[in-house]
Symmetry: C2
Subunit: 387 residues, 2 copies
Amino acid sequence: MTINATYHIRQPESKIDAVAEKLAIGLTVGSWTDLTAEDRDHLERFKGQVIEKKVLEENLLEVVIGYPESNVTPDFSSIITTVFGKLSLDGEVKLIDLEFAADYYRHFKGPAFGIEGIRELLGVAGRPLVMSIFKGIIGRDKVFFEEQLRAQALGGVNLIKDDEILYDVPELPFEERIQIANRVLDEVEQETGRKVIYAVNLSGPVFDLPEKARRGVELGARAFLFNVHSYGLDVLKGLRALELGVPLMAHPAFSGAIAGSPDYGLSYPLILAKLTRLAGADLVLFPAPFGSVTLSEETAGAIVAECVKTLPISAAFPVPSAGIHPGLVNKLIDSYGVDQVINAGGGVHGHPEGAAAGGRAFTEAIDLYYGGTTGSAYEQAVTLWGS
Amino acid sequence: MTINATYHIRQPESKIDAVAEKLAIGLTVGSWTDLTAEDRDHLERFKGQVIEKKVLEENLLEVVIGYPESNVTPDFSSIITTVFGKLSLDGEVKLIDLEFAADYYRHFKGPAFGIEGIRELLGVAGRPLVMSIFKGIIGRDKVFFEEQLRAQALGGVNLIKDDEILYDVPELPFEERIQIANRVLDEVEQETGRKVIYAVNLSGPVFDLPEKARRGVELGARAFLFNVHSYGLDVLKGLRALELGVPLMAHPAFSGAIAGSPDYGLSYPLILAKLTRLAGADLVLFPAPFGSVTLSEETAGAIVAECVKTLPISAAFPVPSAGIHPGLVNKLIDSYGVDQVINAGGGVHGHPEGAAAGGRAFTEAIDLYYGGTTGSAYEQAVTLWGS
C-alpha cells in the first residue's frame, strides 16, 4: 500500500512528466535508469508511483505520488521527511494533501474523545459548544486568573482555554492553575449545574512533557492545550499514546509559517486539521474566515471537513477562532453545522457588562438560532459588534 | 532583558506605527489603552517594546520587537509561539531574525563538539572536511550497506551520513547499521590510518528517542543524523541535554516548508542555522547555492555566518550540500573558508571509477586548493562535471 501525496507545483506543462518521475524515483529509490534488471525487480516495491498528474492552470501542475508505506515508519517525521523533506527545498512546491490507506490508520490513535466523547464529558448534545479564552493574562497573578476564570465560567461557556502564550511561569505555575481551576469550576458546577472544562497549556522541555502531563492529570487537569505546530506533530502523537484520559486541544499557533504561503509549505487543511486529528487532537482550533485573522471560506470549510470526515479514527471538534463575537454565531452554524466549538476571547471579555455577560450572549445566540427567544446579553453584543 | 524579533511585513508605510504597536502590545499584554494606571505600572515589564521600525521598500516594512525574556520559558516552542504563533496566521509577515542577550545563552547548551571538537575527533586541522552520503539505499540490505560504506570510507572522506529518508526499517535496523559501520570503519582505520565517522539517522517515536540514542551510543554510535525540522527544535534541544557524547548533525529536510517563501515563515539563516546551532547541532547541513537545490549566495552566506559567528556557544560546522562535485571545491572554500564540511552524494558515487575514487577526487581537490598537485581522480571528476 502507498501513502499518496498531492502536490501543487509551479512548473510549465512541458515539465509534467519529468517532474512527476523525479519525485517518484528521486524521493524513494534514488535512480532507476542506472539499475540492473535484477535490482529493478527487487526495488520495484520501494519505488514511488505516479498516481496522477494534471495541469491545473498555466504553470501550475498537480501531481500525486504514491510512496510505499514500507519506506517509512509510522512517525510524522518519517512520513513528512520522505514526502516533503528535500522536496521542500526545491522551489515552489506545496504539499496539498496526504492520503492513507484505511489499514494504515492502525498506527494512529486519533482523538481519544473526539466530538462524541467531549459532548459526553460536558453533557451537551445537539448544539455547538462555546469556549472562551483568557485575555490579558500575561504578567498577571493568581487572583486575576481566578477572577477571570470564574467570570468566564459563570456566563455559560462549556470550555475555557489558556492563552497559548501563557507558559509555566512563576507567577502562574501550571500546577496551581490546574488546582485553582478545579476549585472554581467545581463551585460553578454546584451553583449552576453546568460542567466547564479548563484546558491548561502544556509546555516546557519536550522530554519532560509526558511526566508533566501525567502530573497534571493527577492534580486534576481536565484538558490540555498544546502548541502542536511549534513542538512537532510527533510530540502530540506521543502525548496521545500516553492515554492520559483527558482531551487534547491543538492550537494553530505557528501553523501560518508552514501553511501561509500559496506556493510553499503544506496546506492549512492538511497541517491544521488532517494531521493534528491523526496525531490525536480532540479539538482543532483554526482561524475563522469571518473574524480578525482571515483564511478564505473555502480553506476554513476544508479544515472543518478534515476534522469530521468519516475515517477509522474519531472525529475532532473543529474550533473556529479569532475575532468571533455573538453576532457571528448564525453564520458559524450555517457554515459548519452543530458539531463545532465556537471560541472567543475579545467577544466574551469585551462585552459591555463583562465576561459573564459575554458568555451568556453566545449561549443566547445559539438558543436563538435553534428557535429560542433573544436575550439581553446577545442584544447588547449585537449592538456593539453587529451581526 | 528582551528577545528581539525582526520581521519583514508587507504593509504600506502608512501602517508602520499601528503594525509595530499591534505586535508589541498584542503579542504580550494584549491591550494597553484599556488598562488602569496601576495595571500599566505593573505590566510595563511584560510589555513588548518597539525597538526599531523602518521602510525597506514600497510596501515592505522592517519592524523589530523586543519581547521580555520573562514572558517565555527557554523552550523553542514557547519562544516561537510568542514571537510568531498567532502572528504567523496574520498575512504576509516573515520572521527574519531572533536576537538573544548574551546572558540568555545560559539556557542553551549549543554544540557539544562544534568545529573544534569535531576536528579533534577526526584529527584533521587546517582544511575543510569531506562527507559523503549513501545513495540508493532505500530497499537495500546489509550487504549493500556494508559495501557502499566501505567504498565511501576508503576514498578518504571524513564523515559518512545516512540518507535522511532511511529510517529504522527491518531490512537495515538502526542497531545493526551502527554495528556494521563500527566494524567497517575500524578496519578502514587500521588499513589507512584515517578515522571516519558514520552518522546514523536517529528516528522513531519522539519519546523513545532519548533511550534509543543512549542505546545507540552504547552500541558504539559515533554521530547522529537528525531530521530536526520535521521533529521540532525542542526535540534536538532535548537530545543535546542528554550529553550523549557524540556529535549531532542537523538535516535541512522540511525546512523549505518553513523558510522557502519570501513572504511567510522564518528566514533560512534563522531556522536552518541560528536556531539549530542554539539547539545543539554540531553540523548544520544546508543546500549550497552552487549545486542542484539552489538558495541564493547571499542566503547561503548568511547561513554560514550564523554557524560560525562568535557567541557564548560553540560554532557549528556549516555543511554545504546538494549537487556538490569536486569541481566546486575551489568555489566552496573561497566562499565559506576552511571551516566547512563539503558534503556530496552523487558527486562521490557518480565518479567514473566508483565511490572510493569519488572521495579521493574531493581530497585531491582540497589538496590542490592548498597548493598540492592535481590527482587523477580529481581530473576525471572535472572532465565529467566541470569546475
